[in-house]
């Protein structure tokens, strides 16, 4: 065996390198960030994004796309800031129901052979509406244990870093190492062969969606822990962020090619890119445009490394 990286490992190297470079740039612009507190400030809001990105990744692993991720996380945030605090039992029941609904969606999408984009587009209205019903105006309050969890100060590394590592490891074990994970990715790769091996694709798809629901629920809870309260629009941007995070992390839209560790890195990169920009002090008119530019630059970097990799492989 030569020392050639597997395509899975290569999928990881590129996002990791982009993150490192960006982090170096941030430290250079703002040396203050190079501290326990600084790192936490840079990354703590990436924790819920990372969870949502993993959720999106699970859906993408079975060749679907979830356009309701943002509204769903918002809805969960509303539940967390209201029921989960005031009536924990009801709150937990609602969360379980939400996960079951997700799994159900996976089943329905499979059985009726529906395009996931449309179903989740429809669901995005439903979750949004439920969120507005729960919290017509922003409010509610984070349960104390959630707040504690998100502001805990572990030794050595700040919460944001520890949490990101835990998320990455758990997701990696579930998606890349477990039988269920293989099955889910197999469906993305070639559903027919999975079916011919005697598996129930419906169940596996349902499981993928259900698992996505679990991670999305965790994202909503974590988010409230950071913001202390919620509203129906609080996480709308998670839909696109989570998709971008998966892609940045080396995942692909079809074919079941995903990388959980990459997805977490992608989420961290996206968050960091925002900070990098604000440290650059760009004129107000172009601040929004600069966000686009940075996405382009990070992806261009990914391409460059990909090229290098291809050349290596070619010989």
């Amino acid at each position: 065996m030569t020392l050639r990286l597997s395509s899975d490992a290569m999928r990881l190297v590129i996002p990791a390198l982009s993150l490192t470079l960006l982090l170096a740039a941030v430290f250079w612009l703002q040396p203050r960030a190079m501290s326990y507190v600084g790192l936490n400030l840079l990354f703590n809001l990436a924790v819920p994004i990372a969870l949502a990105t993993i959720a999106q990744m699970l859906v993408m692993a079975v060749n679907d796309l979830d356009l309701s991720m943002g509204t769903f996380v918002s809805f969960i945030a509303c539940v967390t800031a209201t029921f989960l605090r005031d009536a924990p039992v009801t709150g937990v029941l609602i969360l379980v129901g939400a996960i079951a609904t997700y799994a159900g969606l996976g089943v329905v999408i499979h059985l009726r052979n529906l395009p996931s984009i449309v179903v989740t587009l429809g669901m995005s209205f439903v979750w949004g509406g439920l969120g507005v019903l729960l919290l017509p105006a922003p409010g509610g309050q984070s349960p104390d244990w959630v707040r504690w969890l998100m502001t805990v100060k572990p030794p050595l590394a700040p919460m944001a870093i520890v949490a990101s590592i835990i998320i990455a490891v758990v997701a990696h074990l579930v998606v890349m190492r477990s039988s269920l994970g293989v099955l889910i990715r197999g469906i993305g790769g070639n559903p027919r062969s999975v079916e011919r091996a005697g598996w129930s694709i419906v169940a596996a798809r349902g499981a993928a969606y259900g698992l996505a629901g679990v991670f999305a629920v965790l994202a909503g809870i974590a988010l409230v822990g950071l913001t202390t309260s919620a509203d129906a629009n609080i996480a709308l941007r998670y839909t696109l962020l989570s998709i971008a995070g998966v892609i940045l992390g080396g995942g692909e839209f079809i074919g079941g090619r995903v990388s959980p560790i990459g997805a977490v890195i992608g989420a961290l990169t996206l968050t960091l890119a925002g900070s990098f920009l604000s440290f650059l002090r760009i004129s107000a008119d172009w601040q929004i445009g600069a966000q686009g530019a940075i996405l382009i630059i990070v992806l261009a970097f990914r391409l460059m490394l990909n090229r290098v990799e291809k050349r290596e492989k070619g010989r």
Partner: protein, 316 residues
């Protein structure tokens, strides 16, 4: 099979059926007295969704992952620049339109350059691009609302033979789109690309040329929609396109176009656009609050797709 039953095999019938039901429920509130009013309003506002939806449909036809998220920003940018250029003068209407089209072409070109040069999924490329275009819109006029030239304002807000002018414009564009898809080589090309890009390439289709043309077409339609909408609503605003992000995608998919690409559908866009407007009007009319209204909208979208979905239309 009898022709009536065959109608139910067509992918667009469900969006039409849904919008008819919603239309009927809406006018029944006033026992039919609001028929003309509701119909005209629906046609008027559906027209804008139709125009952006058509462009989005062409892009979605190109296959999985193809979607243009820069539609809202392009609408805003074109609307603001055109109105600023025309500066309420009727003589500048044509130059305004030309600049609008030019903006569409530039945005489309940038979109495809990013997709091609960086080999990134279109969804991310166009998202990045939309931020830049939105910034350009802010930079050019900082949100000032300039009125449209009076002739244009009159044109966009009035009717011809009872049909709203904007709806007539949308209809003409739809016919053009249908013609492109069904009768020209270009239509075959994009359908082929949507089904399999490698196969299209090996069949000698100029894949990049066709995809570029499609992104240009989508961006131009978005900018024209922005131009018309700005004139119709009495001025361009920085947030005027934001509604049309989800809308442009929703009308395409509800209309029966295959999300996986390769199979598009013009009549469905009309059904879906009318439906999206009418369902909000109906729920408003019945006095339902925002929460309930959103939930109902979502459930109706899912029901429509459940009825229409599951059967892959066989196309010739």
């Amino acid at each position: 099979m009898n022709p009536f039953l065959r109608l139910f095999e067509t992918p667009w019938i469900w969006s039409w059926l849904a919008s008819f039901i919603v239309w009927f429920l809406t006018i029944m509130v006033t026992l039919g007295a609001s028929t003309i009013g509701v119909s005209q309003a629906a046609l008027t506002f559906a027209a804008f969704s139709v125009i952006v939806g058509l462009g989005q449909m062409f892009v979605i036809t190109l296959g999985p992952g193809n979607i243009d998220l820069s539609v809202p920003a392009t609408m805003t940018f074109a609307g603001t620049v055109a109105l600023k250029l025309m500066n309420v003068e009727n003589g500048m209407i044509l130059p305004g339109l030309l600049v609008t089209i030019a903006i569409g072409l530039v945005v489309g070109l940038c979109n495809y350059s990013l997709i091609k040069a960086l080999r990134i999924p279109p969804i991310i490329a166009t998202l990045s691009m939309s931020f830049i275009v939105q910034s350009a819109a802010i930079w050019t006029n900082r949100g000032l609302r300039i009125k449209p030239p009076s002739a244009l304002a009159d044109f966009t807000t009035s009717n011809t033979l009872g049909a709203p002018n904007v709806a007539i414009v949308a209809l003409l564009i739809s016919i053009l789109a249908w013609f492109l898809l069904e009768k020209t080589i270009y239509g075959r090309w994009i359908s082929a690309i949507g089904q399999s890009m490698p196969a299209a390439r090996m069949a000698g289709i100029p894949v990049d040329g066709a995809r570029l043309a499609t992104y240009l077409f989508c961006a131009v339609l978005a900018s024209v929609a922005g131009y018309l909408l700005a004139c119709f609503s009495g001025g361009a605003a920085l947030n005027m396109g934001s509604e049309y992000l989800l809308m442009s995608i929703a009308v395409v998919v509800i209309g029966g176009t295959a999300v996986a690409g390769g199979d598009s559908n013009v009549p469905g866009i009309w059904g879906a656009s009318l439906f999206m407007f009418l369902v909000v009007s109906m729920l408003n009319t019945y006095g339902l609050g925002a929460g309930i209204r959103l939930i109902m909208t979502g459930l109706i979208i899912i029901s429509v797709i459940m009825l229409a979905g599951g059967r892959r239309a066989s196309i010739r």
